[in-house]
Amino acid sequence: MAIIEVNHVTKEYSLGQLQSLKHTIQRAAAKLRGQPLPERPLFKALNDVDFKVEAGEVLGIIGHNGAGKSTLLKMLAQISVPTRGNVKIHGKVAPLIEVGAGLIGDLTGRENVFLNGAILGMPKAEIKKKFDEIVAFAELEEFIDTPIKRYSSGMSVRLGFAIATSVDADILIVDEVLAVGDLAFQRKCFDRMEDLIKRQNKTVLLVSHNIRQVQRLCTRVILLDHGRINQDGAPQAVCDSFYEQSDAKINANAAHAKARTRTSGDLELMELGFLDQNGQKTDHLSFNQDCMIQFKIRVYQHLSDVTFGFGFHTTDFVYLTTHNSEEQLHINYLPLGEHDVLCKIARLALLPGIYSLRFGVTAGQAAGAIFYGENLKHFQVVGDLPVTVREGFFALDAQWLLTDGKDTYSRDIAVAGNPMS
């Protein structure tokens, strides 16, 4: 049986200012006299959203800002009610919506554990039992009797997260909470979430802008767009299409200066383009095919000892790889004017998906780059995923062998199978 049922939920908000008492009375008076009332425009934060969640599922909810994610979570956490439709929940819900909501600065850590635990619906006996564990997880043993207004922001968020994840509930509603604390603590939070999900078999609803996290934790993902369910399915497929949509949005929004560049003024990138294996201009590249990247630059100052470099990164700025010209081009002197620089790539290893490009130039003795830009051009790599690759960014040139301890045999094959040798 479904543990959560969301039946055709629509949520409307009135646009504009909340009206004053005076205005309300005037409206009521107008209504009594039978005069027509000007209707206030309605905004549909959720529009006929309909889905069910089975026990043990880990559902990710993604979407652009304003897509209705938080509104949906509010319905599920019973904080707000739908305008139409209904939400049925069979089980205890622990809302981790903004951890640390309800922490009070003047109270000590200890007092806050009891207060926040009670707010989240934990009986006092249970809080007592879990107290040491909570404090240990938050790494606050030393400071637990200090008012939390003296805590660093990381410390109070850690405490909030530790309390919230101690709640014994069937359904966890998680809104962007994994991005707390320093890297070590984020790791710890992530492990705790995985533990809750995988070993304790809780039903989890996760809302995040961190698509990689969603992809990794969830068993199913819903993509919301303008209050509607745009897609509902396997994490990989939905996340990929979200990336594509994000990309389309960025590209469509031409006024939005998507590229981040900085230059010393000595050099400027005029144009950037791709050529396919036949030397034809193209907008997208093909997986496992040769290609070329063409950079057209204009030089305003005589430059010496010039090195070019470029790299691929994801649309959320995970740097994937770089390559520079240091060993291949020895440019001692680059005169004024326009130059074409070409970089040939053999058998592009990037898996199909959306990526972007960065480019930098160094010259002379200058410590930094005289030109650097990232997110310069979004492009799509097309092609079929080889069956050997399930996910990631790169295809590896690798071979599998069943050797059963026969060393010599494997060495022969390894040498034979290595194209570099």
Binding site: S80, E98, L115, G121
Partner: protein, 272 residues
Amino acid sequence: MIQAAKNIVAYRELLMVLAWKNITLRYKQAYIGIAWAVFKPVTLMLIFTLVKSFVGIDSGHIPYPILTFAALIPWIFFQEATAEGVGSVVSNANLIRKIYFPREIFPLTSVMTKLVELGINFGILAGLMVYYGMMPSIYALWLPLIILYTVLASLSIALIGAAMNVYYRDVATALPILLSLLMYASPVIYPLTLVKEKLLTNQAAGEWSNLLYTLYTLNPIAGVIDAFQRVLLYGQAPDFAAMLPGMVLIAILLPISYIVFKRAESYFADVV
């Protein structure tokens, strides 16, 4: 209403913790701490006693300071519990937007908090009684019921007021003014016996006298204050005739107030 009682039982721990939080927070960094709870009634008692020495209010055989103090503590409890209850939903907006539990917890918590302060003021009253050599009678056993009635009276206004205050902040601003006016229409400075004597015995307002008296006792706090003084100081049973109109009013108002609150509750998070 049954659901309301169930909620209170289910969330009693949260209620306690939140009330404890309110009290701790209010006095944590104050030097004299919770002693502030007695500051207001004691000051008012002194002022009223001073005024009384000019204008002359007949307090019978009970010393005036203790008579007015016994009136002040239920009055201040009612006034502050109601005012805080009305503001409680808006002042907890951060919780309302993030976490669900029955929203009546907030006005209830305000009342709980004030109950603790009421308890402290009983200590002062006991001290005064010792000073004046007065012994509480068996009728003091009525007190818990009288206090419960005061709580219900306070909630009748606090629930509907808190819900309205979410939409119109005017409510929380206007209420303290109305309440301080109500104090003069309650037997705080003067005893109820004076009103009764004027209207019922002397028929001071002619044929309107009985009606006026009923109107006066429609104010539930009039009956409460009188009952407080009777059971604690006079050693008498409460005057139920004086309490009846107020009780009828509360019996009508409280369910309405609760229903309005529950109906508005679902929209608090959207509006507040």
